[in-house]
Each structure stands twice: as C-alpha cells, then as structure tokens.
C-alpha cells in the first residue's frame, strides 16, 4: 500500500555541457516509508535525476516539492538540511583520514578551537551502534575493504539525520552475502519510517526489496509501477523500448588447441601475495569467465596478460610463445586484444577524435602509412567501415570521443580491439556502464569471435554476463583460484557467492577440468 507522497520532482530537465540531454521533463514522486526503485539503463538519466535532488547538479528547468512545499536545493548542504542524503556509487571519502574524521567533516567537535578527536570518535561509535553497523572510528579509510567503506558512506549519510536515503547502485561492489546484509539494514531503516530511493538496473534485486519502481529511458520517465504486479519482461521492455532477450543464445562450439596457457603465476604486492600460483588454459573457441569480487587479483592477472606488468614468477604462453620480457606493444603484436575495465582511463582519449582513438594500436601499420606520412585516406576508409559495422552513433569520425554516450564509447573500444580478428581477447568488465542494446551488441561480437576460434578471458563483476556469456568459469578470491565450474550455465549463484567470499575453496581435484589438455 502506498503512503502519502512526501517528495515530488516536477518537469525536471537537464542538459550537460557536452550536449547530452540527461533529463527531459521528468516527473518523479515518492511516498513516505517506501523503498522506491529508480531503474534504467546506463545513460537513462537516473543518476542525474538524483544528483539534481541531492544538489550536486542544478536542473535547467523544473521544481522539487518536499512535503507539499517547493524547495530550492542548491547544494548537498541544502539537501542534507532537508533530510535528503545520498550514498554514491563512487565513494566520497578522504582516504588518508580516519573514519571519525570523515564522519565529522564539516561538523567537527571543538575544544578551545582545536578539533576534539575524542568526541569525534565517541560520536562515530554512537551512530554505528544506533544503526547496528559496527565500525572502528580510528581506522584509516584507505585501509578498509570496499564493503566497510560503503558502510562508512551510509553511516555518514544517516548520522546527519536524514529521512530520505538515496543509494546509487549500492550492490555494484558487494558480494551476494554483503548484499543480503545491506538489504537487512535497508528494511530496518524503512521500518523506522524512512524512505529509500534505490537506483539500480538489477531487476532481481529490485524485485526483492522494492515497493514501487520508476523506469527511465533516454532521459525521459516511462512511468511508475507497483513492483509486485509488474514482470521483469515488462520492466525490460519499458527500459529499452523492445523486448530485450535476457538470455544470451550460445551455440556449442568445438574447442580447439590451447592458445593461452597460464602456469603457476604468482606476484607479490609488497609483502602480500596479489597472485598465488595461478594456472589455467584457454583454448580456441572458448570463453573462460572470471568471477569474483573486485580486488581479489583479477586486475593484477589482467595486467600481466596484457603486458602492463611483467611476469617474474611463473610462465604465460600464447601459442607456445612466452610473454616474459614482452611489453604491451609486443603482446599486442601477438594478436592479443584488451577491452579495459576503465574505458575512460585506459581505453580511450576523450579529447581525441573517434578515428584517432580507433587507430591508436595500429598507427605504425604499413597499410595506414605512406612512408613518413600517415595515410589519412586509408585510415578514414577503415574507420568509416567500422563505424558502420559497429553501429556507432556519432556525428562524424572526427568527433571527439568524449562526446559520445558510454555505450558508444565502448563500441569504439570494441571496434578497435575486436575488428582485427584477434587470437586472444582479454575482456575486463566489457559492458560496465553500457546500455542494454550496446551491451547486447558487444556480447554478440564476443560470441562471433568465439565461434571463429578466438580464446577469450572474460572478467566481469556482472554475474549475469559472466554466467551467460562464458563457457566455463573460475572464481578468484584472495589472489587464488577458489573454484572452477565446467559449465557456466549450470552454476548456482548462492554456491558461487560462497567461493567468491572465500567461505569455500575447491581442491585441485575438484577443479580437474581446468587443466584439460
């Protein structure tokens, strides 16, 4: 049953300086004491709408009405004063300060003008106890694991007396178990009469704890529905505008010979072992998935495979040739492609044009150069074809890549990496922050390559993606392979979570299939 409306956002419009229309005449209302999901693909405008609500952005048009009164939210301070708090997807914490210092920033208790650290820590402990989220006030934030960092974020919001809590994709970095814990806390918070806005595109979670759902698509509001009466299919179709196939269709493929061999690879990170005796093989026509909570060695593994760091302990072979001593350029020359985790940091230069981005790994190729001059005619012909083939939505190939939407930027990356028909693909979170149709497209391309014999390593925190796309998968925990599942389609998520968290670990025998010839 829906309570009375406490918050309304009317006719909100917002255009970013890049020209992207993030919100167009959006209507949004929430009722007291509900958990309200705000769903949509990446780029649909849900984050922007909440940034407007929290005062981080100002809307170009529209108004916000709280408890029947129109209010102006010009800054997060205003929002907090009105009882609106936000926990961001990317944590807003100061790493070198302690939990207590982060909590008390802006409200520092003073004694004779100097900061009273004892009172700050006491206050932090009080708040933690009140909401049953224990934390050590004197711990340096930089030393905390991701789940605890999020806890500090939540405590920070709660401690300032808010009654509407906005959570932006909170479970993106949590394990299944941590997610359950979070949901417990949220329900408890709701019992106390507070309201939660839950931004997500994970339909399963929305179904689990949300009362109502508002769907956004391409900057517009598509309507508000009761979660209990609307189906996942209906939600998806509203989000995308056509029936999105939630299942990924895969043909069974005959596996070829070994292409990528990783043998007893270890790596130290200071005193700790970041990678501990990792071994696996990938064959032609195989997609091996890597599941695991971020920070358990996946990044280090990928960095070794693409040449960002060097193998010193163990061996990595591609088509029987060792990677030892080879840098990024040489490894790329071995026909290894890499879709990086962070496209805006590694995968693209936002000020450079689409064509400049696409040729970055091929700029020295003979067919793109005429002696000491670059052959722009040949380059443009090639890039035009790629834009067509990958359906990249842009004004021209000279457009700066930064002006495209996330999905299109990822398609530029994919075009560069996949169009060269690589032998090995290292795909790291290939559809993170990408809209459903672009994600589908990229999945399609990866499967196409697989069918043609490419060996792919798919690292993904998106369980749907890693379970649906890969043939078999390994779980990484604490720098080790904790589990191996021969058939991704048969994997039980709860069981997977146990391995991801380190509660369980397979023995070498149980992982037998991993070392097949």
């Amino acid at each position: 049953m829906v309570g009375k409306t406490i918050l309304e956002m009317q006719n909100i419009s917002k255009v970013y300086s890049t020209g992207v229309v993030a919100n167009q005449n959006v209507q949004f209302e929430i009722a007291e004491g509900e958990i309200h999901a705000l769903a949509g693909e990446n780029g649909a405008g849900k984050s922007t709408l909440m940034k407007v609500l929290f005062g981080i952005e100002t809307a170009d048009e529209g108004k916000v009405i709280l408890d029947g009164q129109p209010i102006q939210i010009k800054s997060p301070l205003h929002a907090i004063e009105h009882g609106i708090g936000m926990v961001h997807q990317h944590f807003m914490l100061v790493p070198s300060l302690t939990v207590a210092e982060n909590m008390m920033l802006g409200l520092e208790p003073k004694k004779h003008g100097l900061i009273d650290y004892r009172r700050a820590e006491a206050f932090t402990r009080e708040v933690a106890e009140k909401y049953n989220l224990p934390i050590d006030p004197s711990a340096k934030v930089s030393s905390l694991p991701v789940g605890l960092k999020q806890r500090v974020e939540i405590l920070k919001a709660l401690s300032r007396g808010i009654r509407i809590l906005i959570l932006d994709e909170p479970t993106a970095v949590l394990t299944p178990q941590e997610t359950e814990e979070l949901f417990h806390q949220l329900l408890a918070f709701k019992e106390q009469g507070n309201t939660i806005i839950f931004i997500s595109h994970k339909l399963g979670e929305i179904k689990q704890i949300c009362d109502r759902i508002t769907i956004m698509r391409a900057g517009k509001c598509m309507g508000t529905y009761d979660v209990s009466t609307v189906t996942e299919q209906e939600i998806s179709s509203l989000m995308v505008g056509r029936d999105v196939i939630l299942e990924i269709n895969k043909k069974p493929v005959k596996r070829g010979e070994k292409v990528l061999e990783v043998k007893n690879v270890s790596q130290m990170h200071g005193q700790k072992k970041a990678l501990n005796d990792i071994s696996f093989n990938i064959h032609k026509g195989q997609i091996l998935g890597v599941a695991g909570v971020e920070g358990n060695g996946q990044r280090e593994l990928v960095n070794l495979l693409v040449g960002k760091t060097f193998v010193t302990d163990g061996e990595i072979l591609i088509n029987k040739v060792s990677l030892r001593g080879k840098n990024v350029k040489k490894i790329r020359q071995m026909k290894v492609s890499h879709i990086p985790e962070d496209r805006m940091i590694d995968g693209a230069a936002s000020e450079a044009s689409i064509e400049e981005n696409i040729i970055s790994d091929k700029n020295e190729a003979k067919y793109l150069n005429k002696g000491i001059f670059m052959n722009w005619k040949a380059i443009r012909m090639m890039v035009d074809k790629m834009i067509d083939y990958y359906r990249i939505n842009c004004d021209s190939l000279r457009q700066p890549v930064g002006m495209l939407s996330g999905g299109n930027i990822q398609k530029v990356v994919a075009a560069r990496e996949l169009a060269r028909r690589p032998e090995v693909v290292i795909a790291n979170q290939p559809t993170r922050g990408v809209d459903v149709s672009a994600a589908e497209f990229i999945h399609g391309k990866l499967l196409e390559l697989r069918d043609e014999g490419t060996a792919t390593l798919l690292v993904s925190a998106d369980l749907n993606e890693v379970l649906g796309l890969s043939d078999d998968l390994i779980v990484m925990h604490d720098g080790e392979i904790a589990a191996y599942f021969k058939d991704s389609a048969q994997v039980d998520e709860k069981e997977l979570g146990m391995y991801m968290l380190g509660s369980e670990k397979m023995t070498k025998e149980e992982m037998g299939g991993l070392f097949d010839e």
């Binding site: 981080i56 800054s75 997060p76 301070l77 205003h78 929002a79 907090i80 004063e81 936000m86 961001h88 990317h90 807003m92 914490l93 100061v94 790493p95 070198s96 300060l97 210092e101 982060n102 920033l105 802006g106 409200l107 520092e108 003073k110 003008g113 100097l114 900061i115 920070k156 300032r160 990170h269 200071g270 000020e351």
Partner: protein, 317 residues
C-alpha cells in the same frame, strides 16, 4: 676554502637570514598544495608584496602599515589567482604564469608611475623591519651569534612553521583543507563549499607569500628592484615537494636551499667566477629534486599514483 666559510658563525647566521623568504614561500606552497591547488604564482605574489611594502612604508613612514599593506597585497594577488583558477577555471599553471608575468611588468610599471624610478626604488625612503637582539640568548657563545640579532620576520618565519602545523592538523579548517585536496567529492558530499575552502587555502598562501616578499625588500635589503625574488617562489615549490608536504620537512628543505644561497653569496666575494657561483642555489634545487624523485620512485613502485602526479595530470587542457 668552503670549510673555512662554513666554520664561521656569521655564515650560519647568514643561512638563517637567507632561508627566511624561502621558508615563508614554502609554507605558502604547503597550504595551497594540501588543498589541491598548486600555487605557481607564489613568485609573482612575493614580487608584488615586496613592492607594495616598500611603497607604503615610504609614504606612511610606518613600518607596521607597510608590512600590513604588503600582506594585504599578497592576499589580493591570491584572491585574483583564486578567481581565475576556481571561478573562470583557467588551468592553474597558466594562471600562475600569467600572475608572474603581470607581477614582473606590473611592478615596474607601478613603481615608475608612483615615483618615476625605472626598475629600482632608489629615490624612496622605505623602511626596514627591525632586527631583534634576544636578551639572554645573544650572550651564548657560538649559538648566540647565530640565533640572535635576526630580523623580526626571520623569527616570525620559524613561528609560522609551527603555526602551519597546528593549522593543518589541529584545526577544523586545516582538516577541511586536507580533505579537499584529496577528495573534492567527500567535501562536497557533506555540504561544504569546495571553492570556498580552496579560496581560504589560497588566502593563507597569499599571506605567507606576502611575508616572504616583504622580507626581501624590507629586511634582506631595503629597496625594491626588478625581479628581485629571483626564482625563490619556485625554489619553494621544490622545497615543499622534498619536504613531503610536512611543515617540518619543508623547513629542513628550505634551510638546505638557504645554505646554498648563502654559500653562493660568500663565494662571490672570493675569486670564484660570479656566474658559476650564482648557479649554486639553482643547481642545488635541481639536484635535490632529482634525488627526491629517484628515491620516491623506487619506494612507490607498488603504490598508486602519488598526489603530485594527479595534480600534474590535472593540468590537461
């Protein structure tokens, strides 16, 4: 020969004296760096303050008013820097370069307008901040000659090092400055105004720069001359980097540069070619920075990018 020089108390007295402007300037660098703003304009700010101090003290014949005017000039310069970099969002390096250009020509311009002097304030009877002879300490053998008898501003510089420490680590404003330098988002998320905090940091930076500039024209020498800061504002940036951004570390680094400066002054009076000798402070800075970055690099092999790196990256476009 060098050993003979180092052996005298008057040399070490000179070291403290000559370090003074560098200490002030490097404190200016610390405060703004901690807020995430690299203040390239310290050099220009010091130059402006040194002129204003001379002008005002000459016209009012009052030292205190002159000093205050110089400090105010430093604050104003810092505010202009803040406006350009924070509000107009001009790249901070370019803003600093513009400020230094402006100061270099603008001070000559103003001096000429006001006094008709071109390039040096010869005709002005500007005042000097007094020296202090500390009662008991001045009679201590060796140490007394080194420590007592300095310009008031020299003692102030050392006091400011302590004050900066208290400011940054014990006061709320210092906590916020450190927070804003590491994570703008964290500061914004609790409703604080990022720009305001950075502005405050720049104002403090301006005060220290002002004091450094005033010392140059009202303590070190008693006149203003063209480009008299001679790169000390930049040496201060190096000192801050080498001191790892801590007040104490930066103090030590500043004194090292003061040592080089004093040495070069002494050597000039001997037969060593003047030009070679004048290179000494700058070569010292270069060597110091090189050693520092080599050491830092080998330590940080496994850590993520340091603060300085990300600041440099923020110079993009």
């Amino acid at each position: 020969m060098i050993l003979e020089i180092i052996g005298t108390t008057s040399f070490w007295y000179a070291v403290l004296r000559v370090s003074t402007p560098i200490i002030f300037a490097s404190l200016a660098a610390i405060v703004s760096n901690k807020a995430g703003v690299v203040n390239i304009g310290i050099e220009g700010t010091m130059l402006i303050s040194s002129l204003i101090g001379v002008l005002i003290s000459a016209f009012t014949q009052n030292v205190l008013v002159g000093v205050l005017a110089g400090i105010l000039a430093g604050v104003l310069a810092a505010l202009i820097l803040a406006y350009c970099a924070l509000h107009l969002k001009t790249d901070i390096t370019l803003t600093g370069i513009a400020l230094n250009l402006f100061a270099s020509g603008g001070t000559i311009f103003l001096l000429y307008l006001v006094t008709g002097d071109k390039g040096m304030s010869g005709s002005l009877k500007s005042l000097v901040v007094p020296t202090v002879h500390i009662p008991v300490i001045k009679d201590i053998p060796v140490l007394g000659e080194i420590i007592s008898g300095h310009n008031l501003l020299t003692y102030l510089a050392f006091l400011c090092v302590f004050l900066t420490f208290v400011l940054l680590y014990k006061l709320p404003v210092g906590l916020r400055i450190r927070a804003v330098g590491e994570s703008e988002g964290a500061v914004a998320s609790v409703g604080l105004n990022v720009i305001r905090i950075r502005c405050i940091a720049l104002i403090l930076s301006g005060i220290f720069s002002g004091l450094g500039g005033i010392f140059m024209s009202m303590g070190y020498v008693s006149w203003f001359s063209k480009d008299m800061i001679a790169g000390r504002g930049f040496i201060a940036l190096a000192a801050e980097a080498m001191g790892r951004g801590t007040p104490l570390g930066t103090l030590i680094a500043s004194i090292v540069f003061g040592f080089a400066d004093a040495l070069s002054n002494y050597l000039q009076s001997l037969q060593v070619p003047a030009e070679l000798v004048m290179m000494i402070p700058y070569v010292t800075t270069v060597v110091g920075l090189l050693i520092y970055s080599i050491k830092r690099n080998s330590k940080n092999k496994f850590k993520k990018e340091g603060k300085n790196e990300s600041k440099i990256n923020s110079y993009v476009n």
